[in-house]
């Protein structure tokens, strides 16, 4: 294999890290942690997504303009989740019996 064909070390490390996080999140799902199960699952999902975005999607090498564009979708999503959930979790009669 010629030198140029080798995968960059950071890609291999990220791939291994992602598979390790997958194993971790599946194992953690079976631990009786109550409400914390959801927190652990979503935290690990966010960590995996961050690795994919920064390394595979090369956000760590990009300028602030690209990062702004990438963050914009998540920014509007956060507003949508925040406002809608603020409504539903505080409704006394949701779900309707």
């Amino acid at each position: 294999m010629t030198k140029n064909r080798r995968p960059p070390r950071i890609l291999v490390a990220s791939w291994m890290g992602l598979l390790a996080l997958l194993a971790l999140t599946v194992s953690a799902a079976y631990l009786p942690l109550g409400m914390a199960n959801t927190v652990v699952a979503m935290t690990i999902a966010a960590a995996k997504a961050t690795i994919v975005a920064t390394v595979f999607m090369e956000l760590r090498e990009r300028n602030s303009l690209t990062i702004t564009f990438a963050a914009a979708g998540f920014f509007w999503l956060a507003i949508m989740l925040w406002l809608v959930l603020a409504d539903y979790v505080t409704r006394p009669n949701f779900p309707p019996a």
């Binding site: 995968p7 960059p8 291999v12 799902a29 999607m57 979708g73 809608v84």
Partner: protein, 213 residues
């Protein structure tokens, strides 16, 4: 400094590459909100019916879901590897990596089909003979309606991605990309990684709840 692949409106290849990449990020921002709307509905009903959603999630096939996650993560790695070596002039070898990633995408869809058929036989798919006994039937129905719509829309994205990777792989095989011209594999890679990110969240929302209960 003239390149046949440089479109008239750009100053140089670098600027053209930047614009292509930024355009894909704009599209991906709309995709975040597309899948985000579905995930919002999931969050609303999961807060409404926590026990029902846990009960429903226990009926999902976690072995297939986890295998499919590993498959997509690996295919993303192969695409990232391909994109990095296309830029070093290794277009031919990169085409093999892109086709391997597309093949993993096909395996993903195949396993998804197996999963749907198992759930069909267990009467878990809304619209396809859904039946569930017990007090949580209504919430389980809502969960599997989300499951079916979200995973089917995701599978459509995977199918588009397989098609794109296969074509980009073919063009890489023909050595159409080089050290200076590599926007198509880069942009196709961004799309594929994004579909991977969507799956990472769907996996956590669909397969993991209720396992310890």
């Amino acid at each position: 400094m003239s390149d046949a692949r440089l479109a008239a409106q750009f100053v140089d290849m670098r600027q053209q590459h930047e614009v292509a990449r930024l355009g894909m990020w704009v599209f991906l921002a709309t995709e975040v909100l597309f899948f985000g709307g579905l995930i919002l509905v999931y969050c609303v009903y999961r807060t409404g019916y926590p026990e029902g959603f846990a009960e429903a999630a226990r009926h999902t096939k976690i072995a297939i879901g986890a295998a499919n996650t590993a498959i997509l993560l690996t295919s993303s790695f192969l695409v990232a590897w391909a994109v990095s070596i296309v830029r070093l002039g290794e277009s031919r070898f990169a085409s093999l990596l892109l086709w391997a990633a597309a093949l993993l995408g096909l395996i993903f869809i195949g396993l998804k089909g197996v999963e749907y058929s198992l759930e069909y036989r267990e009467h878990l798919l809304p619209g396809f003979g859904f039946e569930f006994a017990g007090s949580q039937a209504h919430a389980v129905h809502l969960f599997f309606a989300f499951y079916l719509v979200a995973t089917a829309l995701h599978a459509v994205h995977i199918a588009v991605g397989i098609f794109v990777l296969a074509i980009i792989g073919w063009r890489a095989h023909q050595k159409r990309y080089s050290e200076t011209y590599h926007s198509p594999p880069t942009v196709a890679g961004l799309y594929w990684h994004f579909v991977d990110v969507v799956w990472i969240f769907l996996f956590a929302l669909i397969y993991l709840p209720g396992r310890s209960g």
